[in-house]
Amino acid sequence: MAQEASSSTSSKTISLKTGDGEIFEIEASAAKQMKTVQRLIDDLGDDITIPLHNVFSKELPKIIEYYKKDITGEITKDFEAEFVKDLNDDEVKVLFLAANYLDANKLFEFLSQNIADRLESKSVEYVRKYFGVENDFTPEEESKLREERAWSFRGIKEDE
């Protein structure tokens, strides 16, 4: 008799509710990889829908997709390349911040590297906007610094 995976804890699913009210299911073993989720499960029990106030329905499915692959040991360089291929810089930023909130280490590290790769070819102005930081140099200070480090700017692409 063909048997389905038994209802042991390994195939138990956890319900996650996003900040905008949508509910997604995730395997308990995948939930373990997200330390924030695991902590909430430890506090609230695994029968309750876990509320994730700072993660939204746009990004959670993508994160779940990543960890689905992770628990079957199928994360390869090719998979990771595909995973981010169609995401723009802002979409990756949202995922990265969500991974940070969820304390999902593997995804966090992968996305850090990916963002670093994307920023390599960007200008200083773009990075300021991306990180949301202010330029606290005076124009004179900034031009002096740029002059001193002119060698590091050789080969930079124009701002997109």
């Binding site: 900040g19 905008d20 700072n54 939204f56 746009k58 990004e59 802002d90 930023k93 949202v94 990265f96 911040l97 969500a98 940070n100 850090s112 590297q113 963002i115 670093a116 790769d117 920023l119 390599e120 200083v124 990075v127 300021r128 990180f131 949301g132 930081v133 202010e134 330029n135 606290d136 140099f137 900034e142 610094l145 740029r146 480090r149 060698w151 590091s152 700017f153 930079i156």
Partner: protein, 424 residues
């Protein structure tokens, strides 16, 4: 009918207005969601991302704001960046080009510091050489003669000679920063049996250069003068004399591979076990490894494996660091080369013979192992006298030649990783 119509009209417009308001509210809600999602990066998160960048880009981002400008001096960030940078291990070489027809005049050689990416070589089978055409990385240019003594955590130590000055200095090529010159305490053209070694003392977190020269007198015991310069100091410090004479001083070989080998806070040299031993009796089984601990600045003798083949000093043995262990390689019978690894530093029983490989595979002798992959499968080797480098696959015994640099001679160097380590 009229009042019903009015009620309906009223109802219709209410619903219309209500749905307009609702959609505005939803937009606001959505906007605040987007704002929440587009939350500003905390300092920690920005630092995490930037720590993955190659040094050149970190330097560019110093123009972002004052926080980023001073980040490169933060010891925690430097360490964070270094630990990620070590994944991009490189081999450094010195490439030479001759500017005249006379190959024997060393003053006419231009030399440049170049690097080869190991991940590119092993994972993508490509030879990526950096800095070959960038004049910033020039070392020697007549009449200034320079060579790289050693490399440690992205910092290089360089010997320089602009007659009559002889000096050392520290150089971080990725940051394009050089330290001030440190005058040498002897003349390498007079005290010709000398050595420079560069390493890192974990206990005090200091970079140190060890320099010595040996006076070999036929009628009395060899005498050595050994001094250490710590980065941040202003002068050389005396340390204990060498208790044994390094093999290369005895044999009069001044090959740059035979410098002290830095490993995990120690500097190591081959030495004959008996200070009085006749140099003609110099054979591998009479050797030990003389090890200087950079934190205590004292010496220990490390024994070589038992039962070592009686290897004459034809091709002197070379110390190597492979797979994070100290080891050495030596020639066997001019037919093979053998690589040993000391799995536990200082423990004689932990010596393991890793390889005994026939030269036949390479049609070249006197090969120096440069890198061994973590899984032990792939060995990178070089012979700079003949300008040849190879990748050897240990499993299927396959050899592939690698071209380092066209038309020029090159000399083997050390491991190198980019870093933000300061030169002062």
């Amino acid at each position: 009918m009229n009042s019903l119509g009015r009620i309906l009209e009223f109802g219709y417009y209410s619903i219309l207005l209500y749905s307009i308001f609702n959609s505005i509210l939803n937009k606001e809600k959505k906007k605040s969601i987007e704002e929440a999602s587009a939350a500003i990066f905390s300092d920690d998160l920005m630092v995490e991302i930037v720590s993955w960048l190659p040094v050149k880009y970190v330097m560019q981002l110093r123009c972002v704001n004052k926080f980023f400008n001073t980040l490169v001096f933060d010891p925690h960030f430097i360490q964070m960046h270094l630990s990620k940078s070590t994944q991009n291990l490189q081999l450094s070489f010195t490439s030479f080009e001759n500017n005249s027809a006379d190959f024997t005049k060393s003053e006419d050689w231009d030399s440049r510091w170049i690097t080869l990416s190991i991940p590119d070589l092993l994972l993508q089978n490509t030879v990526t050489i950096s800095h070959l055409s960038d004049s910033y990385y020039r070392l020697s240019r007549s009449p200034h003669y320079r060579w790289v003594i050693g490399s440690c955590n992205g910092l290089l130590c360089v010997y320089g000679n602009s007659w009559p000055d002889q000096y050392l200095y520290f150089w971080n090529p990725a940051m394009r920063k050089e330290s001030k010159r440190i005058p040498l305490f002897f003349d390498i053209y007079i005290n010709r049996n000398f050595d420079f070694s560069f390493g890192y003392d974990n206990s005090t977190q200091t970079y140190k250069v060890v320099a010595f020269y040996v006076e070999l007198n036929s009628d009395s015991n060899p005498k050595s003068v050994v001094k250490v310069f710590s980065l941040g100091d202003n002068s050389w410090r005396d340390v204990q004399c060498l208790p044994l004479v390094p093999l290369y001083c005895l044999l009069g070989i001044n090959d740059f591979h035979n410098e002290g080998m830095h490993f995990n806070g120690t500097i190591n040299w081959f030495a004959l076990d008996d200070i009085n031993l006749d140099r003609s009796a110099a054979a591998l089984d009479r050797c030990v490894i003389l090890s200087l601990d950079l934190s205590t600045e004292t010496y220990t003798k490390l024994l070589l494996p038992r039962g070592l083949d009686k290897v004459p000093a034809g091709y002197p043995p070379n110390l190597v660091v492979l797979m994070d262990c100290l080891g050495f390689c030596h020639d066997f019978d001019k037919t093979h080369f053998v690589i040993w690894q000391m799995k536990d530093f200082g423990v004689q029983e932990s010596w393991l013979q890793l390889f005994k490989i026939s030269y036949e595979n390479f049609a070249r002798e006197n090969l120096l192992p440069l890198y061994l992959s973590e899984n032990g499968d792939t060995l990178v080797l070089g012979n700079d006298r003949h300008r040849e480098a190879f990748i050897y696959n240990c499993r299927d015994n396959k050899v592939e030649k690698i071209k380092i640099a066209d038309r020029t001679n090159w000399e083997l160097g050390n491991y190198y990783v980019e870093s933000l380590v300061s030169t002062d």
